[in-house]
């Protein structure tokens, strides 16, 4: 641990933890988004439920889930520490306000955006993760499809949650915060890794911007279309 103690003691080490866990969470978002997008196939949730069953039963995914939780906790704890610690470094505040003249508002608001995402995350875990992992057997309800396959109906759980307009609003707000959080975080992680070069930094920035818009947009569409019964 001695050689790695800088990850929790030096300013550069702490930043590295944010970047490594951030990229891991981005990878998770990609998988999560691809599975959610199956809802949009409008096949009564069959493909989505099959994917959910695969995710629930695959041992590799189960182990990854533990790593994911560690990643989340590190990212949240280190992020909160850095936000409050950095704020203390200028005890006397400025009166003049440069506005957005030298930086983007969302790059200065990562702690705030992250907190909104954290509140959303707690609610989101309660809605789906707790229900699908810790429920009594068959509590979710099962569904048998035309091909004779019987499985848990997580799709129905989604439909139930999104009947509430409040849930839909909270999910869409969560996705907005996620989009802006990613808009800074994606490219910022590469800068932290020391990857900055005039030939490929613009590519990272473009891929990051596309990811930050497309992924939260797909996440946000699902509660809306389910609420209005476009997908059922």
């Amino acid at each position: 641990m001695g050689v790695l103690s800088f990850l929790f003691s030096s300013s550069l080490g702490r930043k590295l933890v944010m970047a490594v866990t951030g990229i891991a969470l981005i990878a998770f978002l990609l998988v999560h988004c691809l599975i959610n997008a199956m809802v949009l196939l409008n096949d009564g949730g069959q493909t989505f439920n099959e994917a959910a069953r695969f995710m629930a039963e695959n041992p590799f995914i189960r182990i990854s889930e533990i790593l994911l939780f560690v990643g989340f906790l590190l990212h949240i704890a280190q992020g909160l520490y850095l936000t409050f610690d950095n704020r203390k470094r200028r005890a006397a505040k400025y009166t003049g306000n440069p506005g957005n003249a030298n930086s983007k508002w969302y790059s200065r608001s990562m702690g705030f955006l992250g907190t909104i995402i954290l509140i959303f995350l707690v609610l989101h875990l309660k809605h789906f993760w707790v229900v699908s992992r810790f429920h009594a057997p068959h509590a979710l309800g099962e569904i048998t499809y035309a091909n004779g396959d019987t499985m848990e109906n997580l799709f129905l759980e989604m439909a139930n949650v999104f009947t509430s307009p409040y849930a839909v609003i909270i999910y869409v707000l969560g996705c907005f915060s996620l989009a802006y959080h990613l808009l800074h975080g994606f490219a910022s992680a590469f800068q932290t890794f020391g990857i900055n070069h005039k030939s490929y930094t613009p590519i990272i920035a473009s891929v990051g911007a596309a990811f930050s818009i497309i992924v939260p947009l797909i996440f946000a569409i699902i509660p809306v279309v389910m609420h209005f019964g476009i997908i059922k």
Partner: protein, 247 residues
């Protein structure tokens, strides 16, 4: 032109500061510091305490002038220091808010003058190369590719003024340290102390009370010498490499 000023006045490091309002008649061709000279002459004539502010070369190379002007270090223009900023960049009747660099690591000495000794201590911790004394070595005996020399020079244009710290929402000194580490790590003379240097400088930077970098880019946007954000990426690389080598 008639200018209204709100200037931060603070007797010393331990006293409470406050804004004072002044009116100045300035020519559009005056530099921002010359406008302050005019104001100070007025204050002295009226028997008041003149405003303390840092300045030296007044041609943008010494790194002494500071001043946060309407919330922006060195004022609204890109790539200039306060001494190179002219009153023609403002309009008749403008009210301009002038504050010192604000960071715990840069305590106010008086009014607009702050103590940037933290930068000196960071340099003393590793921002140098050790050479044997004796006859001067012929400069051309060490071959350095043109691109490397250019990049090292770009980083070396940092004048250590502290605008990066003053612009950063975390009062982080990474652009300054990144520039110094980049300059020395690229050149052959900097190799022997390369890994020990970056660790020592980062440790000193943290000990001085500067914040951590969150990659907002405000430092590079406000740097009067336009040091690019890539020097911080390079600082990260150098530091992680040294750490992996157990430094």
């Amino acid at each position: 032109m008639n200018i209204n000023l709100k200037v931060w006045r603070q007797r010393n490091q331990n006293s409470e500061g406050r804004f004072e309002e002044y009116k100045v008649q300035a020519s559009p061709d005056m530099s921002f510091l010359e406008m302050f000279d005019v104001l100070n002459e007025q204050l002295i004539e009226d028997g008041n305490d003149p405003i303390a502010f840092d300045h030296d070369c007044r041609e943008g190379i010494c790194g002494m002038c500071s001043m946060v002007i309407n919330g922006r270090p060195h004022g609204p223009k890109q790539g200039v220091t306060t001494c190179q900023l002219h009153m023609r960049s403002f309009s008749e009747g403008d009210t301009i808010v002038v504050e010192p660099w604000r960071a715990n690591a840069f305590p106010v000495i008086k009014d607009l003058s702050v103590n940037r000794g933290a930068f000196d201590r960071i340099i003393a911790s590793g921002g140098y190369v050790s050479v044997n004394t004796g006859n001067a070595v012929d400069a051309n005996s060490i071959l350095i590719p043109k691109e490397v020399a250019d990049e090292a020079f770009e980083a070396a244009t940092c004048i250590g003024c502290g605008a990066c710290v003053s612009a950063c929402k975390n009062a982080s000194a990474m652009l300054f340290v990144g520039a110094k580490v980049t300059q020395l790590s690229m050149l052959p003379q900097g190799q022997p102390e390369r890994q020990a240097r970056v660790v020592a400088m980062v440790n000193q930077m943290d000990a001085e009370g500067f914040g951590a970098c969150t990659n907002t880019g405000a430092c590079a946007a406000e740097c009067p010498k336009q040091i690019p954000l890539s020097v911080i990426a390079n600082l990260n690389r150098e530091y992680y490499k040294a750490k992996l080598n157990g430094k």
